[in-house]
Amino acid sequence: MLEVKHLEKSYQKDKPALTDISFSVEPGTFVAIIGPSGAGKTTILRSLNQLIKDDGGQILLDGGDLRTANKTQLRNYRRQIGMVFQNYNLVERLTVIENVLHGRLGYKSTLAGMFGRYTNEEKQEAMTLLQKVGLEDFALQRCSELSGGQKQRVGIARSLIQHPKVILCDEPIASLDPASSQTVMQLLKDLTTEFNIICIANLHQIGLAKDYADRIIGIRQGKMVFNEESDALSEKILETLYDQNVTEELN
C-alpha cells in the first residue's frame, strides 16, 4: 500500500507548489491525477520516487518512509517503483530489449550493470514482457525506429521488469495520437489488475481518466480538491477544478 501524508513542497519562498497532499492507494488500483497545467501534478509524481526532494510530510510504501531513506535504501525503493514518461526517455540508440533490460539495473551490481551483463532469466523475462506489450517482433530494433505508441510500450515494459509495486506515469499519452492513447491506457489498466500493482498517472484527458481509472485525484494550485471513485467526478467539480476565473481571483 502507498500512503502519502501531508506532502509539502515549495520551489520559491512563500509560493507553495504543494500543500498538505494526503492520500493512500491499495494495490490493484489505477489512479488518475487531473488538474490544470502548473497545478503540481508532476511535482507530486516525482516526489513519490524522490526525483524531486519535497519539503515535508511522509511517503510510505508498505509502511517504510521513502523520505527518510538513505542512499542504499532509496535505491531499493526506487527499483520497486516504475516510471513512465511523456517523452518515453528511452536510450534511442539502443535496441528495444536493451532498453527493457535497463529496468533491472537497480537489482544488479554496479559492474554487471555498467557493462550490461544480464542473466538468461532476465533476458527471457524481457522477451515475455515484450510479448505482453505486443512488441516481441521488435526486440532487436533500435528504439529510434519505433513510433510514439511503440516507444511508450517499451517504457511500460521497462518499468514492469522492475517487478514494481507502483508505476508512476507522467503524462503517458500526452504525445500520442488518440488510437495509441487508448492502447496505452488499456494496457496500463490491464497490467494494474494482472500484476496487482498501483498505477498513478497524470492526465490531461478527463474523458480517458474517467474511462480507465478506478479513482481520480483532482489537484488545483497545489491543493487536493477531489479524491474519489472516478464515477463521482461531476461537471460541477470539473468546473471548479479548471475554472480560469476562479484561478485568477485566487492569484
Binding site: 535505491r75 527499483r79 514518461f85 517523452n87 536510450v91 539502443l94 557493462f115
Partner: protein, 263 residues
C-alpha cells in the same frame, strides 16, 4: 503609449540604426588605422595571378612528392593521435563538469574555467611555450594540439551531455540504477553519435592546424613547406599546399560519410 504598431516601427528603426552603427565603426577604424579597404580589394586579382604563376607545381615538382607525402602522412597520424587522446581526457572531464552528471556548482565552474583556459590560448602560443620544454620535436606539436583540442572538446562534450542525456538519465535514475550504471548504460550510448561527430571535426581541424604548428616546431609537413618556401622553391611549396588541400578534402568527405552511417 506602447502600441503594437509603434512597437514594430521602433524595432524597424533599431535594426536600421544597428546596421548604420556597424558601418560607421568600420569607417572610423579604417580611418584611424589609415587602412584602405578599396585598394586591398582591387589588389586581390593581381595577388592571385602572382600566386598562380609562382606557386604552380610544375613537372619538376613531382620529384618532391615522395618527401611531401611521407611527411604529410606522419602529420595526419599525429593529428589523429592527439585528437583521440584529447577525446579520452575530455569525456571524463566533461562528465565531471556537466550539470546533469557532475559535481556541484564549484566543480562545474572550475571545469569550465580549465576548458576555457586551454581553449583561449592560441595554438601558436601553446606551440611556442612548449618549444622551451620539449624542443623541436613531434611531441611538442602533439602536445600543443592536444591541449587545444582538450579545451574545445570539454566544452562541446559538456553541452552535448546537457542537451541529449538529461531525460534518459532521469529515467534510469528512477529505476534505481547507480551513478556509473547510468553513465555507461544511458549517457554514453545516447551521446555517442554527437561525440564521434565532434571528434571527426576536431581531426579535420587538427590536420590543418598541425601544418601551422609544424612550421614552428620544425616537424611534419609544416617544416617541409617552410624549407621549400624559404629556399624560393615555390613550385614545391605549391605542391605541398596542394597535397594538404587534397588530404583535408579527402578527410572531410570521409568523415561526412562516417557521420551519415552512424547518425
Amino acid at each position: 503609449m506602447q502600441t503594437p504598431v509603434n512597437y514594430l516601427a521602433r524595432k524597424h528603426w533599431k535594426q536600421t540604426g544597428t546596421i548604420a552603427l556597424i558601418g560607421s565603426i568600420y569607417l572610423l577604424s579604417s580611418w584611424i588605422l589609415k587602412f584602405d579597404g578599396l585598394t586591398g580589394i582591387v589588389a586581390i586579382p593581381k595577388a592571385f595571378s602572382w600566386l598562380g604563376i609562382n606557386f604552380k607545381p610544375t613537372a619538376n615538382s613531382i620529384h618532391f612528392l615522395p618527401t611531401i607525402w611521407q611527411k604529410l602522412i606522419g602529420t595526419v597520424l599525429l593529428a589523429i593521435a592527439s585528437t583521440v587522446v584529447a577525446s579520452f581526457i575530455a569525456i571524463f572531464v566533461a562528465l565531471i563538469g556537466a550539470k546533469a552528471t557532475g559535481g556541484n556548482a564549484l566543480v562545474q565552474t572550475v571545469v569550465r574555467g580549465i576548458a576555457s583556459f586551454f581553449r583561449n590560448i592560441p595554438l601558436v602560443a601553446w606551440a611556442m611555450i612548449l618549444l622551451f620544454s620539449f624542443k623541436q620535436s613531434d611531441f611538442t606539436g602533439f602536445l600543443a594540439l592536444l591541449l587545444m583540442s582538450v579545451g574545445y572538446l570539454i566544452r562541446a562534450f559538456m553541452e552535448i551531455i546537457e542537451d541529449e542525456a538529461s531525460e534518459t538519465m532521469l529515467a534510469l535514475k528512477a529505476t534505481g540504477a547507480s551513478y556509473f550504471q547510468v553513465i555507461f548504460q544511458a549517457v554514453l550510448p545516447q551521446i555517442m553519435p554527437s561525440l564521434i561527430s565532434w571528434i571527426l571535426y576536431m581531426i579535420e581541424n587538427n590536420v590543418r592546424d598541425a601544418t601551422l604548428v609544424g612550421i614552428l616546431t620544425g616537424t611534419g609537413i609544416g617544416f617541409v613547406f617552410d624549407i621549400y618556401y624559404k629556399s624560393f622553391r615555390f613550385d614545391a611549396a605549391g605542391m605541398t599546399v596542394l597535397s594538404i588541400i587534397v588530404v583535408v578534402i579527402v578527410l572531410e568527405v570521409l568523415s561526412n560519410q562516417i557521420r551519415k552511417v552512424i547518425l
